[in-house]
């Protein structure tokens, strides 16, 4: 009994902070999104979002880009995770540092780098120009391609780390057995490693998808205002038009989408780590 009191007094400040500064504001959003100016229930804001073609286009762009980003992260991330898992400790350490660096750098700094590379006169447009594919004034800025490129750099580490956690636990002898029985390297990958790594792949994909649906700084800076995604639309609504009810309703849509994917994620990552 005594020890419970002690633990409670240690935990009290943290719990209080979480309730007031996190649970309360987030609950506030949920209420505000389904409330009218008089404070009674209305689904008008949600209906507005779900019926207006402008906002539906935003929702579709968000889903589409998140899917593309997730697919690229998987295709590019799986081999790296495998190499990290099977490579020496030194290689693994260096690659970990390489992936952690963009993860821990400020999003504005990373995005600025892409603006220089993809913008008019940047390295990529110049290279394409030299190949004779585009003219001198070509720019990749304000395109969905730019958004995808910038976001993949940010979210790639999450995918690699998720897969890495599972691949390190796969018994090497299973692969060896497959090879002994006549599988080629690629076949062993496809029929042994990939299926066993599936929990990591799915967990990583869910994480990358939800994160890419909720980022707005990279899409806003690289895609511009003509290519809004759900998160940037929330930001615009909240800070430019100051329609808090509608911003909250859009947040509810985002939240429902994210939670629908996060529930299986926590199950899977719990399994993968357990």
């Amino acid at each position: 009994m005594h020890s419970i009191k002690l633990d409670l007094s240690i935990a009290a400040p943290g719990i209080l902070l979480l309730l007031i500064a996190f649970v309360l504001p987030v609950t506030g959003i949920l209420v505000l999104g389904i409330e009218n100016a008089e404070g009674s229930f209305t689904s008008a804001h949600l209906v507005k979002f779900l019926t207006d073609p402008f906002y539906l286009a935003i929702a579709w762009r968000t889903v589409k880009l998140s899917l593309i980003i997730t697919a690229i992260c998987f295709i590019a991330g799986f081999p790296l995770a495998y190499i990290m898992a099977r490579g020496g400790p030194k290689l693994r350490l260096w690659l970990l540092i390489v992936i952690t660096l963009p993860l821990m750098t400020s999003v504005v700094v990373r995005t600025f780098g892409w603006m220089v590379i993809l913008g008019r006169g940047g390295l990529v447009p110049q290279a394409l120009n030299m190949l004779g594919l585009v003219n001198r004034n070509f720019t990749l800025m304000q395109t969905e391609t730019a958004i995808v490129v910038g976001m993949v750099q940010v979210l790639f580490p999450f995918m690699v780390l998720s897969i890495l956690g599972v691949v390190t636990k796969i018994d090497r002898r299973l692969e060896e057995a497959a090879r002994v029985m006549g599988c080629s390297f690629i076949q062993a990958m496809r029929s042994v490693v990939l299926p066993l790594a599936m929990p990591g792949v799915v967990a990583g994909s869910l994480l990358v998808f939800t994160l890419s649906a909720s980022y707005f700084i990279t899409p806003t800076l690289l895609g511009g205002t003509r290519l809004p995604v759900l998160a940037s639309s929330i930001y615009e609504t909240a800070t430019k038009t100051l329609d808090w009810h509608f911003a909250a309703a859009q947040s509810i849509v985002l939240l429902i989408g994210v939670l629908a994917l996060l529930v299986p994620y926590t199950r899977l990552s719990g399994k993968a780590n357990g």
Partner: protein
Amino acid sequence: MVKGIPVSIKFFAVAYVAAIILFLIGPLVVVAGVSFTAGDYVTFPPQGTSLRWYEAIVTSPVYLDAAWTSLKLAVLVTISATVIGAAMAIVIHRQRLPGTTFIGGMFLAPLVLPTIVFALGLLIAWSSYWGATSLLTLWIGHTVIAIPYVIRTTLAVLATSDKFLEEAGRTLGAGPWKAIFYVVLPQAMQGIAAGAFFAFNISFDEAILSLFLRSPEIMTLPIQIYTQLEFSPDPSIAAASTLMILLTVIMILIIDRLFGIQRVAG
């Protein structure tokens, strides 16, 4: 006989790893390159080399103010997030409080819940109860999102610590608080310290909460950069960004020394 991995695949693997490294690090190198330009425009490769843009930011009151705000905020967040996070980690680790698993889950929620929803909620809640946002608002917001990192690093260290040492301390006559301060905390120190550096880094680099809660009083460095990116990018942004990258590199190396970057990933 089983053949090794075919040479063609090994060759492909090396090229692929090189491409990935280029993709991840390239943009940061480009930013650093731009910062040393002698020209007036953001171009890569830079035109000539000079330190004029570094000189420009260290003499610019706007950048100095922003850096000072960011530093002040990051230090405050480091203190609050580390104290609360370490305390929560100890309680979660002991599992004596009813509902500890639930509490632990709640504290990790800011990691997975979209920050934008939390940012909007905090903005609206703060504006309707207390009025204009201030450094205090941002301090609280950053603390909430930094706490999970401290909890995770501290828990990771506590999981490998000897739980009988605390009992031994108690048996030898230490009171419950004394046992925590002299036995449990020193054991968890490595994780707490790594968490503290994480907290600093998160607050110093954070832009989402800072953008939502933005007011003239809390113009942090990332917000200053963001604002300039939207309107008139010049190489001074690159100089400020390069210094931020440098700080991040130092943080990663410290965390690796203290805690091992491998465990952060796990």
